[in-house]
Symmetry: C2
Subunit: 341 residues, 2 copies
């Protein structure tokens, strides 16, 4: 499997991207990686790694996309950016999948523009992973679409289901609709309509799930629009960080606490590992014709390594083909909408 | 100050409501409380407390509102419920403010129906309080309105500002709009329009704030629609609980951890206190003509005590008069909308 890596994307690129690629190749013999970006910089990074025998190559790109650049500007003016060249490489079949830790808005726009959508999909969505007391759940959409219609949310459910089933090996994943009450009729206009679509479909629909229940593992896939999903994701990140800081401060304020902290540190480390985004590597942009992984801007080499492995896994398991077939079988949501009308 | 307490509302009523009322009276000599509900039950609870000298009375109500009852049904069929009688008491000037830990949808509908809105307010909103690393922030709307227009969010900002200033003594509170990016143009249709309204007003507007920043204390008032706000609140509750459980599990799985836990426990308790809703007692339904406090269904006696003190405080500081005057002065948002058009 050949992965195109936007080696210039992310806050710590290209050091962490090159490092992450090398780590991924060391762990998986079936992989090869094309580092896309400034040839001189990337060669120099690669030389430090002393890994000539690995299945790694460089493809030059003269531009980079800035973190605050608008998708439109980038699409027009950055046709030789590391991101664009990586996506073009997938389009021309020079790679099977793409990974970028760059400007996520530009990654989405570029993937959509160059690679296009799976037939029947109206809006691609970001599928993020979050930890629960039992394991994990898939949050979809985590930020690709800020204003959605019921049929979009329905399609997110179908895509999230395929992702949870094939990548996280969850049998018959339970789909929950993120809402503000468990009763069927609770929610806003969007979720009330989506509720009806999901209830009348073949999906294993668990009904509305509340924010307080999702970390208890009440659903394997949690569906919402990208505005709500992104807020849910960022609030969780922010609160987890704030809690860790509050606890540390509490501990350091008292001597017994400081002593306790020595014992406690390992538990805190294991806990952090469970809630650490870098364990999951990144979030696929589902609904695009080829696997595209969006990684956190702050990605470490470990996050890049895991994102590369995730991209390869989505390709190997044929997740996009599964989604495509489900939409062919009449799970696009359009039929259900038509029946209800 | 006279507080009407829906003594039958909440999961642990009437034991916790009566207990909370007695605690509030012991702490504040200027208070009197009317317990509204089943006379026999309340008398029996009060007798246990042995507090005849306190400024407490009982007003009989023959019905109670169930937690799963719809607002419409309750309004029609429960005209002698403990909630309704408590609200009626405020309306007839038999009390200055009202507290209920009952069905929040019914509390809102009843308060709106019986007491009405402050002139100029389009939608009353729930103002919840959440902890930050520096102190706290006010989240408005925390769940009263699921589908909002920009002018509603603008009004929430004005009400939240008055609440933060007069109840939490924050000088010139910074107002943030909950969104998914710090740039002005980021967000969904609703927040992009609201952004313009807030920027063109006299409000101390700090721009968009992201979920990851709110716990760092970037804004004193965080404005959003009630759907997003309720999800933000519930996710925070759920995640904080899940993190506490994960940590405890991590600790109990290893011997050194168990030892560490002994030292660590006090820190954990102090931390819990900071994130404990019962410290704040409840959330006012701002925009109603009289102070109405909605408390958590799971309210302990401490939460009820603090809710009663909050109700008294809002009345004493004249927060609703402040809001009313600001709307008279042209801060209803309507003028700003008109200017932009």
């Amino acid at each position: 499997m050949r992965i195109a890596l936007d080696a210039m994307g992310g806050d710590y690129a290209p050091a962490t991207t090159v490092e992450g690629a090398v780590e991924a190749l060391l762990e998986n013999n079936a992989l090869s990686v094309v580092l896309v970006g400034d040839e001189a910089e990337l060669s120099s990074e690669l030389e430090k790694k002393n890994c000539k025998a690995l299945r790694i190559s460089i493809k030059h790109a003269s531009q980079t996309v800035e973190m605050d650049e608008s998708p439109l500007t980038a699409l027009r003016r950055k046709k030789d950016s590391s991101l664009r060249v990586a996506v073009d490489l997938v389009k021309s079949n020079g790679a099977d999948a793409m990974v970028s830790a760059g400007n996520s808005g530009v990654v989405m726009a570029t993937a959509l523009h160059v690679l296009g959508k799976i037939q029947g999909i109206e809006r691609p969505a970001i599928a993020a992973v979050m930890p629960t007391l039992k394991g994990l759940f898939v949050l979809i959409d985590a930020g690709a679409n800020v204003d959605c219609k019921p049929v979009h949310l329905f399609q997110f459910a179908v895509m999230g289901e395929a992702y949870a089933r094939h990548i996280f090996n969850i049998d018959n994943p339970k789909i929950g609709l993120l809402g503000i009450g468990e009763e069927d009729a609770k929610g806003n206009e969007l979720t009330r309509e989506t509720f009806k679509l999901l209830r009348n479909s073949q999906i294993n629909f668990a009904g509305n799930v509340e924010g307080k229940d999702i970390f208890a593992g009440e659903a394997d896939v949690v569906v919402c629009d990208g505005f709500v999903g992104n807020i849910a994701l960022k609030i969780s990140e922010g609160l987890a960080e704030a809690i860790a800081k509050m606890l540390k401060r509490e501990i350091s304020e008292r001597a017994a606490g400081r002593l306790g902290y020595l014992f406690f540190r390992q538990a805190l480390r294991n806990f952090k590992k469970k809630t650490d985004y870098s364990e999951y590597g990144g979030a696929p942009l589902l609904g695009i014709n080829k696997p595209c992984i969006i990684s956190h801007g702050r990605s470490t080499s470990k996050a890049i390594k895991n994102a590369i492995k995730l991209a390869a896994n989505i390709h190997a398991k044929g997740v996009l083909d599964v989604i495509s077939k489900e939409f062919d079988k009449g799970l696009s949501g359009r039929e259900t909408v038509a029946v209800q009308k």
